[in-house]
Symmetry: C2
């Protein structure tokens, strides 16, 4: 246990576990679903292999990550978050909401990744009761680069984004990277109207509008009223 603040404080304890460099970004990658070592490396540009393996081991020892062997055909290992780690979604959501104000336009050397923005917009957000229980599919740039397709489920009004396509979505939303960036940075304003112009919707348009409003909408989960 490398980092110790020696303070009996919930914040300090949390930071001892997930406060080291890269750790919360590893959690971010896993929050959208299980990933293999190489997938994680691809989603964390600049991380070195020893860092990644070290962080994964630390998270495993903390009981936040479990490794699971895939069945023979794949013959590989995936890492996934445990039940104890699902509470980190709230932390990531808070950081994402606060970080949105700090984001600004993409910097020259910034990598842009649909997964990061989809997660940042969706996790922790809520939709009104009438949109509860729905499932949406999100395709960024046509969803071509194999991994730029996501789906969002609303469990009791609470949005849960994941990688991959949805089995039977209520609506499919297709949008370009620029639209995604504009949506994520809040450049479109809180309303979903201008967003709708940049997004192609197939299926139930009303529910799609609810999703867009949530994705573009108020940072704080329940502080708009």
């Amino acid at each position: 246990m490398p980092v110790r603040y020696a303070q009996f404080c919930p914040v300090a304890r949390a930071l001892e576990v997930v406060g080291e460099r890269w750790t919360l970004l590893v959690a971010r990658e896993l929050l959208l679903g299980p990933r293999r070592f190489t997938d994680l490396q691809a989603g964390l540009p600049g991380i070195s292999t020893n860092m990644l393996s070290g962080r994964l081991r630390a998270l495993e020892e903390a009981g936040l990550v479990a490794r699971r062997a895939l069945p023979p055909p794949a013959a590989s290992t995936v890492y996934e978050l445990t039940e104890a780690a699902t509470g980190l979604a709230v932390v990531l959501a808070a950081l994402a909401d606060w970080g949105r104000d700090q984001l600004g336009p993409p910097r020259p050397d910034d990598e842009v990744n649909g997964a990061w923005l989809v997660l940042g917009m969706a996790v922790g957000r809520t939709v009104p009761p009438e949109a509860s229980g729905r499932t949406w599919e999100l395709r960024v740039d046509g969803g071509l680069p194999a991994g730029e397709t996501f789906h969002v489920r609303s469990d009791g009004g609470h949005l849960r984004p994941q990688r991959g396509s949805a089995a039977d979505p209520d609506a499919v939303l297709t949008l370009g990277t620029e639209a995604l960036v504009a949506l994520a940075t809040g450049t479109l304003g809180p309303g979903a109207d201008r967003a709708a112009a940049l997004v192609t919707v197939t299926g139930d348009e009303a529910s799609a509008r609810h999703l867009l409003a949530a994705l573009a909408g108020a940072p704080t989960p329940s502080a708009d009223a």
Copy 2:
């Protein structure tokens, strides 16, 4: 700007600003009100002076902390959070709520500090509408060690803890460190009944019960219904 992830991601951007060691703990100290350099050092056991001055400068450059000169009699400087940093309360609240589960009993070398626990229990929590607009005073161990007295205001049901006593509190709650620890770790259970037995209340008991329920209560801000 030492740490750069080079990712166009709100979470990564947030962590570039506040993700380094000690930074969020400095914010934690300032969230309860302005502090001088030496006060901060006392509230961050183990931090070295160069670390603290470095972090304060970084936070100042990021526009999250402002230094203000006290009037001549004191002839000193205080650091305080800016408007841009108030959003960090949500991040700290999320970390505190998640960290509570990781807290367990105090470790042998852990320092215990009333401020950390009061902040961890109060920040981000809410009280029902009938307790909105109230102010409570909290005295830990009689509030004697000069700085173990706090007050909590509910702005629209949203709790805002601060250092020092309240001007005209609706109720004054006095409790020992052990009661505070039990409350903060959730050892008392979600109800405020057993908590009330360990806390001496002066003033409006009904509102005090509301506060205790919030302090001991559900981690997630709005997920109990």
